[in-house]
């Protein structure tokens, strides 16, 4: 009898440890993605509402948020649906809007190799916000890193899908004035920027990004400055490689590092 109860005690203890671990994981993932939740749900709702007003119901919101999953491009997509262009022109517009994502992957080549069968989804779901989180988030102790990063990517898309379907289905019924809530995404980037500014081994890349962004914003205007700004940034980073490179070699604090 004492032996039996001793055994069940051990088993119970083991289960408690297990559930502690997953509670910790769930807590960590929701904490890390909370700002994206605010931004994605409400910007997603705005998108769903816009799509519904263009004559495409919740089914289209679900489809596009599942297979396109690109915030700003989906707003452009509404315009393409109401005012159809040729498929080639559609492809070119998409390329211009989304080519920035090709640069994001450069930071993830090594890291994503470790994701094996989850790697295709990690690549597919690499939005601005997910990329920013993957670059900056620190995996809490006692949590499996790849599971943690994968759940961040997955949850972010869930927020976006849920927001856009809800927006298309009953966006017009919402009485809560959510105007301004999308600032959460701006604030998220600002917080990551501040954190990187304080901890980066070199601040030159951040300065290059701001300078290139502002210069191209003045030159090309708000709607088309991002691709040239990225090109200028890459060029400046390559030119400054001798000054910056050796300082970045030991980047152990970011999610990008192994």
């Amino acid at each position: 009898m004492p032996l039996k109860s001793g055994n069940s005690f051990i088993k119970l203890n083991g289960e408690t440890k297990m559930s502690n671990k997953s509670t910790k994981m769930i807590q960590a993932v929701f904490t890390a993605t909370a700002p994206v939740f605010c931004g994605y749900v409400f910007v997603g709702m705005a998108y769903g509402l816009l799509l519904q007003k263009a004559g495409y119901g919740w089914w289209w919101a679900l489809l596009t948020s599942l297979i396109v999953y690109a915030g700003s491009m989906q707003f452009v997509l509404v315009g393409l649906l109401t005012n159809p262009a040729g498929l080639l022109q559609t492809a070119i517009i998409t390329l211009v809007v989304n080519i920035r994502h090709a640069f994001y992957g450069l930071s993830m080549i090594e890291l994503f190799r470790e994701f094996r069968f989850r790697k295709p989804y990690m690549i597919f779901s690499l939005t601005d916000e997910t990329y920013s989180l993957l670059c900056s988030v620190k995996t809490p102790d006692g949590i499996e890193k790849h599971q943690f990063l994968f759940l961040i990517s997955l949850l972010n898309q869930c927020y976006w899908v849920a927001g856009s379907v809800a927006g298309a289905a009953f966006g017009e019924l919402v009485r809560f004035d959510s105007k301004g809530l999308d600032f959460a995404l701006t604030a998220l980037f600002l917080v990551i920027f501040t954190e990187q500014w304080l901890t980066a081994k070199s601040r030159i890349p951040a300065v290059i990004g701001i300078a290139a962004g502002l210069a191209c914003l003045l030159l090309f205007g708000a709607n088309s400055f991002l691709p040239p700004a990225l090109a200028l940034t890459v060029l400046a980073l390559l030119l400054g490689r001798n000054q910056i490179g050796h300082r970045l070699i030991n980047p152990k604090e970011t999610g990008v590092a192994k």
Binding site: Y69, L80, A200
Partner: protein, 108 residues
């Protein structure tokens, strides 16, 4: 009409995933990554976050009332709260609430 809409959606989806997959298509398998690319991979996150901050604030009109005041005030507030407590959710929550109050009541 729905057929052409579906074709448009699929085109946008395909080009988007192509953009995201490009570096992985290029450096797949155990193909060695050139040092310049590894370096860019390390340096770009810092530069890209800065660019995204500029991107988020690109719509500010400094030539007309309210001269970007809600965005600029909320941005400064984000950084100040973050320097004070270094707590992501606190910085983002306070700044977003302040921004919503400003655009809904103060600068409408």
């Amino acid at each position: 009409m729905n057929d052409s809409a579906l074709a448009i959606v699929c085109t946008v989806a395909a080009v988007t995933v192509f953009c995201r997959a490009l570096p992985f298509l290029f450096f797949h398998g155990s193909r060695p990554i050139p040092p310049a690319v590894t370096y860019l991979g390390l340096a770009l996150p810092y530069a890209v976050i800065s660019l995204l901050v500029v991107y988020c604030l690109r719509g500010i009109d400094l030539s007309a009332s309210p001269f970007g005041a809600p965005e600029l005030i909320a941005s400064v507030l984000t950084v100040l709260v973050h320097l004070w407590k270094r707590n992501n959710l606190l910085s983002i929550g306070v700044a977003t609430a302040a921004y919503m109050l400003m655009v809904q009541f103060l600068f409408r």
